[in-house]
Amino acid sequence: MFEGVDLNTVMASLESIGFYDVALPFLLVFTIFFAILQKVSLFGNDKNNINVVISLVAAFLFVRTTVLVIIMNTFLPQVSFLAIAMILFLILISIVGGKTDEWKGAPMGIAFVVALIGIVLSFLSSAGYLSQWPEWLQLTKYDLNLFIFIGLVVLFIVIVTGGVPAAGKKSTLDIFKELGEGVKK
């Protein structure tokens, strides 16, 4: 029965009927809009029909805008890759004895910043904005060296001045300790 089956051919035929360009984006946008409208109950409780119509309109308009569909098709795999990288990181942390189910404090803050930077970068690169900076804002090798130098100087000053804690302030060492504690908790 499954002798001649080639999943690559199945995927190719799905692509040829526009499954990835139309059906999947439509489903995703419809589901997200509907879920959010249901959650926030913007038009009152038990207003499923209204939420369905608004979600349908949003999904149809999204699917029609080819540029945005292309951006989404690039963006979502990148985000999935980021998620996989984060899961792998958690696996590595768990190997050395850290608990991975509930982060708090500074580590959670770092996770927040990393996720934000990752999302913004992948969004900008999918939209092609990373290569479209104004000419005067494009960094040369000299600029990069300058920024690295300034960054290092700032880091050095923070480490040196932050090492001795003022009254009620956390030292750099304390922050690193808190990082470790947050992962351990």
Partner: protein, 183 residues
């Protein structure tokens, strides 16, 4: 997209004016009707005030929706801005998913509860993004982008320099954190 089965269906819908007439009409009608039903502006059928006057609400929503689809600029703005908002929503949900990786699985992930104090900032950012999206859909941001593109390195550095000086002045003149706490 064109040439595929689903793509051809979308093109057919486009040809019959589904995106230019039917969808904007449906959207405006539904939103107006829902708001009128929720607010019960035209009164209620019963004395308890539970059943809104559906026929009046539907008629007003119907007329407003017809007026909107004749305004081409508004329809074009809806067609441009709504998909961008959807894309931003996808990005926000992806972000929540990534942060949620590090959260516990015992209870529902509540971002605002976890990062208390970010509520105002996030609301502000969303407001700015929404305003920018609508401005962009009307083409009002084009002069701004062309100004930014032609600003030049010298002016950019001058701006950063002025901001840095203002920042340093505030840092030096402003009250120390210890004093703030005492106050």
């Amino acid at each position: 997209m064109s040439g595929t089965l689903f793509g051809n269906a979308i093109e057919f819908l486009q040809q019959i004016g589904f995106f230019d007439v039917v969808l904007p009409f449906l959207l405006v009608f539904t939103i107006f009707f829902a708001i009128l039903e929720k607010t019960k502006i035209f009164g209620t059928e019963d004395k308890e005030g539970l059943i809104p006057k559906k026929n009046l609400n539907a008629m007003v929503a119907f007329v407003v929706a017809f007026f909107v689809i004749t305004a081409k600029e508004i329809v074009a703005s809806i067609q441009t801005s709504l998909p961008i908002v959807a894309l931003v929503l996808i990005a926000v949900i992806s972000f929540l998913m990534l942060v949620g990786t590090f959260a516990g699985s015992k209870e529902e992930f509540n971002f605002i509860k976890m990062f208390e104090g970010t509520k105002g900032v996030i609301a502000g950012i969303f407001l700015v993004v929404l305003v920018l999206i609508f401005f962009q859909s009307f083409g009002w941001l084009t002069p701004f982008w062309s100004y930014i593109n032609g600003i030049g390195t010298q002016n950019f550095i001058l701006g950063i320099f002025v901001l840095a000086i203002v920042g340093i002045i505030f840092y030096v003149v402003g009250p120390s954190p210890g004093k703030k706490k005492e106050e």
